[in-house]
């Protein structure tokens, strides 16, 4: 029983970051109809920015976190502006392949810049874990979870209670009508991609110090993000949030009770099973946003 509780707690802590990754990806797909293969690289970019700022320039951990997210937003905006702007209206396979090209180039640029050796990042949290009854959790994981929750709440607020969010929802529902109403679709796309990228970079910046930063770390993160998005239904933010926690739980239990070697296969198996039996995701009647 204690073991089960511990697995549940671990899943809760992990699920926050999975949800962050998933929300970013699902926003970009929902509004822009782009399957974003660079998502994992933004995650890795966030982690590497933490490494650069904390380990190489000695910046304060929390300042570095904010800066890493801001840089992720900037990189996302740049990718959208340079690569995707001209492809608006192109078919989904073309944009997908362009994003794959960008993903290969970015990942290898990371490897070129920081070498293939994994980098660890110091964090300011006490090493003794927080013990609650029979279960325990590391302080840095608690911090990651708390920040992830704050970011998820902020994203909800942005989508549901701001003018920009309203414009995003309108664009999602009907791009042409939104354009007729005077919404600058280009600006909305850039903002969406920057926001999604910022969330991915935030996930990387949060988890980089928990684990280590290495060039191919983004592949696994992208895979988890895809699983989360499929679980929730493409374009469904609430679904992605719940999906993040479900994936984390399935992985924890799978690794704990079946085989730790297949931990990372759980996400893929979930994808295959869900798409075979419930292709629109667990929660959606149809694709929607908000």
């Amino acid at each position: 029983m204690d073991q089960l509780l511990q697995h549940g707690l671990n899943a809760l802590m992990l699920g926050g970051t999975y949800a962050l990754l998933g929300i970013g990806l699902t926003l970009i797909f929902g509004i822009m109809r782009v399957v974003n293969f660079t998502h994992g690289e933004l995650y890795a970019f966030g982690a590497y920015m933490m490494y650069m700022l904390v380990m190489l320039t000695g910046a304060n951990f929390f300042v570095a976190l904010v800066l890493a997210v801001a840089l992720g937003v900037a990189l996302g905006a740049a990718i959208e502006f340079v690569l995707l702007r001209k492809l608006r209206g192109a078919d989904i396979d073309t944009t997908m392949l362009v994003m794959i090209g960008a993903w290969i180039a970015l990942q290898n640029a990371e490897q070129l810049a920081w070498s293939g050796v994994a980098k660890s990042i110091d964090n300011p949290f006490p090493t003794a874990p927080l013990v609650i009854g029979a279960v325990s959790v590391a302080w840095n994981r608690v911090f990651v979870f708390a920040v992830a929750l704050v970011l998820i709440a902020a994203t909800y607020a942005l989508i549901n209670h701001t003018r920009l969010g309203k414009a995003m929802r309108a664009t999602f529902q009907d791009r042409d009508t939104a354009a007729l109403m005077g919404i600058q679709i280009g600006t909305i796309h850039t903002a969406t991609f920057a926001l999604g990228s910022g969330l991915a970079a935030a996930a990387g910046a949060l988890l980089g110090p928990v684990f280590v930063a290495y060039p191919t770390m983004g592949d696994l993160a992208a895979e988890k993000a895809f699983a989360v998005v499929i679980l929730g239904g493409l374009g469904n933010i609430a679904g992605a949030t719940v999906g993040g926690f479900i994936l984390a739980l399935v992985e924890e239990l799978g690794a704990g009770y079946i085989s730790s070697g297949y931990r990372d296969a759980m996400g893929f198996l979930l994808i295959i099973v869900i798409l075979a039996f419930r292709p629109t995701g667990l929660f959606a009647q149809k694709e929607r946003i908000g």
Binding site: A105, E223, F268
Partner: protein, 339 residues
């Protein structure tokens, strides 16, 4: 005229090992040839039915493992008391097994994944390849995991006039791959010009319309996947018996991407496309290596080239060249009317 050109071109390809003394270049050509066969099989799915399958390397790898395991033999405990064992078999049995097993996986994947299209299908196909890779890593009893299957025997065939011949040397392997590539080309050509091929193209162009005129879309998609998977499996088997070692890295996503780049660059949905694209991207890494560019930078070049091609030559090289030719042929006729 066109026939004569084909014969000349084939004669040139056949003659390469006779005058090419550099074994390394021959090796590159063999590996390129194997990838061209794999790319041709992908083209069937991507080019003719329009389904972007990003898990294609799974069939290649399954073929490699199936052929290697059948020719090496194995013994696996499936459940307590239930053991599945196989004694070593001749390599050609392994290759046949590879084609059958890959085809069967193609059928299975086609059945479950063609319930969805577009982005969903792409993600299912990637997931499938990753699951297979993780099984290859973790099922050590069968696959040796990361320790790899070693000492895979080369293909041995009875050839008229030669007798029993083991394909140890590079020229022999080169001709073998060339033969398989030509056979694959002919098979694909026949397939796409058949009734089934027209059905594939119809469903690529307009799926609802194809359905409305009575084409059983799912059936043809599954059929194409089976053919495509079986051919990729054959390429994988050739690879296994040529390099004679197979590890779970044959399932890496990057190989799928390489095949996709080859098809897109050459021109998807054209017979010659995968060959042109395959030659370019098979030989490009060597050219870059000769220029002393580190491997990461090579991959950056790959990625950037892929983007540039999608921007400026979205249909690929072969259709662009064909269009250029037609324009040139038409121009002299048009010129008297012009100023």
């Amino acid at each position: 005229m066109k026939g004569a050109l084909t014969v000349l071109w084939l004669a040139f390809l056949v003659s390469i090992p006779l005058w090419m003394t550099n074994q390394y270049i021959l090796h590159i050509l063999i590996v390129t040839g194997i990838f061209i066969v794999a790319a041709m099989s992908l083209n069937l799915l991507l080019g003719y039915t329009g389904q972007l399958s990003l898990g294609h390397v799974a069939f290649f790898g399954i073929g490699a493992y199936a052929s290697a395991l059948v020719s090496l033999g194995f013994s696996v405990q499936l459940a307590p008391g239930v053991t599945l064992a196989l004694a070593p078999n001749p390599v050609w049995c392994g290759m046949l097994a590879a084609i059958v097993v890959s085809g069967a996986f193609g059928w299975f994947i086609g059945r479950i994944s063609f319930k969805v299209r577009g982005a969903y299908f792409v993600i299912v196909s990637i997931s499938f390849a990753e699951v297979v890779r993780l099984v290859a890593v973790n099922w050590v009893e069968l696959t040796q995991g990361p320790m790899a299957l070693n000492n895979i025997p080369p293909l041995t065939l009875w050839l008229p006039g030669v007798g029993e011949h083991a394909f140890w040397k590079k020229p022999a392997n080169y001709w073998l791959i060339l033969g398989v590539a030509v056979v694959s080309y002919v098979l694909i050509r026949r397939l796409v010009h058949s009734r089934a091929g027209r059905a594939m193209i119809a469903l690529r162009e307009n799926e609802p319309l194809a359905t409305s005129v009575g084409i059983d879309v799912t059936r043809y998609l599954v059929l194409t996947t089976v053919c495509s998977a079986a051919m990729a499996g054959a390429a994988g088997a050739l690879y296994a018996h040529y390099v004679r070692i197979v590890d779970p890295d044959v399932f890496l996503f990057i190989y799928t991407v390489t095949m996709v780049i080859m098809v897109i660059t050459g021109g998807k949905g054209t017979l010659a496309g995968p060959i042109v694209g395959g030659l370019i991207f098979g030989l490009l890494p060597e050219t870059l290596r000769a220029a002393a560019i580190p491997p990461e930078a090579q991959w950056i070049v790959y990625g950037v080239l892929m983007i540039l091609i999608l921007y400026f030559l979205p249909a690929g090289i072969v259709p662009a060249v064909r269009q250029g030719w037609q324009r040139r042929r038409r121009d002299p006729a048009a010129s008297p009317a012009g100023p």
